[in-house]
């Protein structure tokens, strides 16, 4: 394998794949990125055995071939080379090594044989559909903050993507929850997604996916089976295993009869929560909402710090209510609400509360109150 490539192009392609590679690996070859030169193109693959990203980039290929080289080292080298530099990659030298030349710099990197590289096995991906980058981005952003990190409930460590009916309209839904809050986002079901199985996309895949979306504005085509999912971008393909588990029946925790409706101006509300929570203890982050006709009082107390209160004008006409929430969770949700208003539907101080964007019904958040 011998090729020449412009630094920026290689850096960009490496950037897409290198973060998949774990910093510590017990299997040495998993620290490497696979490089394959073929027909005027360089393709780069990285995997952690659960998630694989393949990025392609144009290069002047002198001779076809492939190798695997340490991913983070290669990325660091390319990053430090001068902007606009031409880089030559050559494996014709000493066996088990790759030479990288650029200007007056020469690096020799230890390589491992490409035959040993654990590429993800193929397998049928029978369900295919296409989403705009914007839709995919919204599905992820509106839900990923609620993904659980709790290892015992591993089936909550991802976003549950599935087809569902919303008022008799077929929807593609993304749901994430950690047991304390739940986020649900839906868009009209794209063609080809009918009959897809519900799948749980792991957290790391979600994070890598989100980075790739930032670099594209076209469409993303998605293929999946009940064990794997693949996302095709212009310059990269991400394939991931799915979490093998059953996502809980989340519908039953979304309350249907919460009749105490509070509407706030979202930005003012978030700022006030942020201010008041300065007082709440680092650990509990609790704020209390005291709601009366037309007014909301946010308050926090901490035995060490003192107290804080702030009053907001709101729309509320039901019976008075006191309810506590984790301020961090309130802010996470407020951050996802793009409209001016946020609508809280509550029942009582111990039951789940629903939060929505007043002007947009595509996203819904459920929040468990705290004892305050």
């Amino acid at each position: 394998m011998k090729l020449t490539i412009e630094r920026a192009a290689l850096l960009r392609a490496l950037g897409h794949v290198q973060s998949v590679v774990e910093r510590r690996n017990t299997i040495p070859i998993l620290s490497n990125v696979m490089l394959r030169a073929e027909g005027g193109k360089l393709s780069l693959s990285a995997t952690d055995m659960d998630l694989e990203i393949v990025a392609g980039v144009a290069a002047q290929v002198g001779s076809d071939g492939s190798t695997t080289a340490p991913a983070h080292t290669l990325y660091d080298i390319v990053r430090k080379l001068r902007d606009g530099a031409q880089i030559e990659l050559d494996v014709s030298g000493e066996k088990g090594s790759m030479t990288l030349r650029s200007g007056r710099s020469t690096f020799t990197l230890a390589c491992l044989p490409p035959e040993d590289y654990p590429l993800m096995a193929g397998g049928e991906l029978p369900h295919n559909f296409t989403l705009s980058a914007g839709d995919l981005k919204r599905l992820i952003d509106r839900t990923r903050f609620a993904i659980s990190t709790e290892e015992t409930r591993y089936y909550l460590n991802g976003i549950y993507l599935h087809a569902a009916q919303s008022n008799d309209v077929a929807m593609l839904r993304a749901v994430a929850t950690d047991g304390h809050r739940l986020a649900r986002m839906e868009i009209p079901l794209p063609e080809g997604a009918e009959g897809m199985p519900g799948v749980i996309v792991p957290r790391k895949t979600v994070m890598e996916l989100r980075k790739l979306i930032d670099e594209t504005d076209g469409e993303v085509s998605i293929a999946l089976s009940d064990t794997k999912i693949r996302f095709h971008f212009d310059e990269a393909v991400l394939t991931s295993k799915l979490i093998d588990g059953t996502f809980p029946d989340y519908d039953r925790v979304i309350p249907a009869n919460n009749d105490k409706v509070l509407e706030v101006e979202c930005k003012l509300f978030a700022e006030a929560v942020d201010r008041v929570s300065t007082i709440s203890t680092e650990k509990s982050r609790a704020v209390k909402l005291t709601v009366e006709r037309g007014s909301l009082t946010l308050s926090a107390t901490s035995p060490e710090n003192g107290t804080a209160t702030e009053e907001l004008e709101v729309s509320y006409s039901s019976t008075p209510l006191e309810i506590g929430f984790n301020s961090r969770y309130l802010l996470d949700i407020a951050e996802q609400i793009e409209g001016e208003g946020a609508k809280f539907s509550m029942a009582d101080a111990a039951s789940p509360t629903i939060v929505r964007d007043s002007a947009d019904s595509s996203a819904l958040y459920v929040l468990m109150p705290m004892r305050v």
Partner: protein, 417 residues
């Protein structure tokens, strides 16, 4: 050399020539060059449980007294008469009785000891607010800055405090006075009972040098063995190494080895230092190997730990299982919980898998369970969308706590689910 009469607190420049205090006639003195400069003390009650029992039953005064549980338990405390026969605290009961067959064995009355312990604490707190209890009957006291208040150096204040403990509560205690916690604790052990030992800056390094490394707080059997393999058995040998050497070789404790060997300890006296763990354990009458039976004993222990968590307003983020084999090997296993809890049932269920691994047919003499990684109770058992309301369980627990509070511990208990 400054000399203090330990009974009336009179200070003189030199020890009295006739070995009697000029003002009260007492023969108990303490002389030390730094006596007026040292302010950090460790006070330790002498054979606390046994002393309390003797106080309440004067007929026992000159008899060997052992406080401890049944035939299989261990010696919780033994009086100085019993110690003459070789009885030591934490010794298994059967060994103690072999050494001292005519000992009077008394079952511990923890409620009584706690009351007396609180009274001792109260007297300490009247002397300085900087009291850091280490257990029911010992504490560190920082008396710096109290000289004006008590009109005399710390040494005098301490002598009078211990005398007040004797007169008001009828039990004795020993004082260790130095300039840091490590040395104060070491000192309080030097002159027991009714002792007053001082380690000053001038002699600290010389004093420590020939002592075994196990004297250093944090050096247990394992580290002691490791140090011995590396040719270090006494504290003086640590002086040959740099702080970096010791840290590189022994990790975090290396720094402590370096500093303690030089008589340096920068830990401060912290009143109300929150507990790091809460645990309960029991020794069996006969050894047990059956996993089911061990689990049945573990359950009420878990409930007891949970109750103490609730009383302390804490939640546990980890659980530790302790087992002791018939041949006295201690096994400690711990694991993290998914989220902090105050519920005995959750502690129990988290400890069960640990028990199942260890209960492989070996005979055990003791089982215990501990709550670790303590957090504030506001973090514990947070309501969850998908799990059956833990709040109902929590309400039941609180109701049971209230019943036990009124009618006595052990009266009502949860059974295993």
């Amino acid at each position: 050399m400054t000399t203090l009469c330990r009974d009336c607190g009179v200070l003189t420049e030199t020890p009295p020539v006739d070995r009697r205090c000029a003002s009260c006639g007492s023969p108990r003195f303490k002389s030390h060059a730094e006596l007026e400069a040292l302010t950090l003390a460790h006070i330790d009650c002498d054979a606390f449980y046994a002393t309390v029992e003797k106080r309440d039953n004067p007929a026992l005064l000159n008899r060997p007294v052992i406080v401890g549980g049944g035939h299989r338990g261990v010696v919780a405390a033994c009086c100085y008469v019993a110690r003459l026969s070789g009885v030591r605290s934490a010794m298994p009961m059967f060994k103690a009785l072999k050494a001292c067959p005519d000992a009077v064995v008394i079952k511990p009355d923890m409620a009584k000891y706690r009351t007396v312990g609180r009274q001792v604490r109260q007297l300490m707190l009247e002397t300085t607010p900087l009291v850091e209890p280490l257990s029911i009957d010992e504490a560190f006291l920082d008396l710096s800055g109290t000289e004006k208040l008590h009109q005399g150096p710390a040494a005098r204040t301490l002598s009078l405090l211990v005398k007040r403990i004797e007169q008001q509560l009828g039990i004795t205690a020993s004082i260790g006075l130095s300039y840091n916690k490590f040395l104060a604790k070491v000192a309080s052990d030097l002159d027991k009972p009714r002792g007053f030992a001082v380690i000053g800056r001038g002699e600290a390094v010389q004093f420590l040098s020939p002592k075994p490394v196990s004297l250093i707080w944090g050096v247990g059997a394992a580290l002691q063995q490791r140090l011995a393999r590396d040719g270090i058995s006494v504290i003086g040998q640590l002086l040959d190494y740099t702080e970096r050497d010791l840290s590189a070789r022994y990790g975090a404790i290396g720094r402590r080895l370096y500093r303690f060997a030089r008589g340096e300890d920068d830990r401060t006296v912290t009143p109300d230092a929150p507990a790091k763990s809460i645990s309960a354990e029991t020794t069996f009458n006969t050894d047990i190997s059956d996993a089911g039976e061990l689990a049945r004993i573990l359950h009420p222990l878990s409930e007891r730990v949970a109750e103490r968590l609730r009383n302390a307003g804490r939640g546990a983020s980890g659980v530790a299982l302790k087992l002791k084999t018939a041949d006295f090997q201690t096994i400690n296993r711990s694991r993290q919980l998914a989220k902090p809890t105050q519920a005995g049932e959750i502690l129990y269920r988290a400890a069960l898998p640990l028990l199942e691994v260890e209960a492989d047919g070996r005979e055990f003499r003791l089982i215990g369970i501990g709550a670790e990684g303590l957090v504030d109770q506001s973090q514990a058992d947070l309501p969850d969308l998908f799990e059956a309301a833990p709040s109902r369980d929590a309400r039941l627990d609180r109701a049971l706590d209230a019943v036990r509070d009124r009618l006595g511990a052990g009266l009502v208990q949860r059974g295993p689910k």
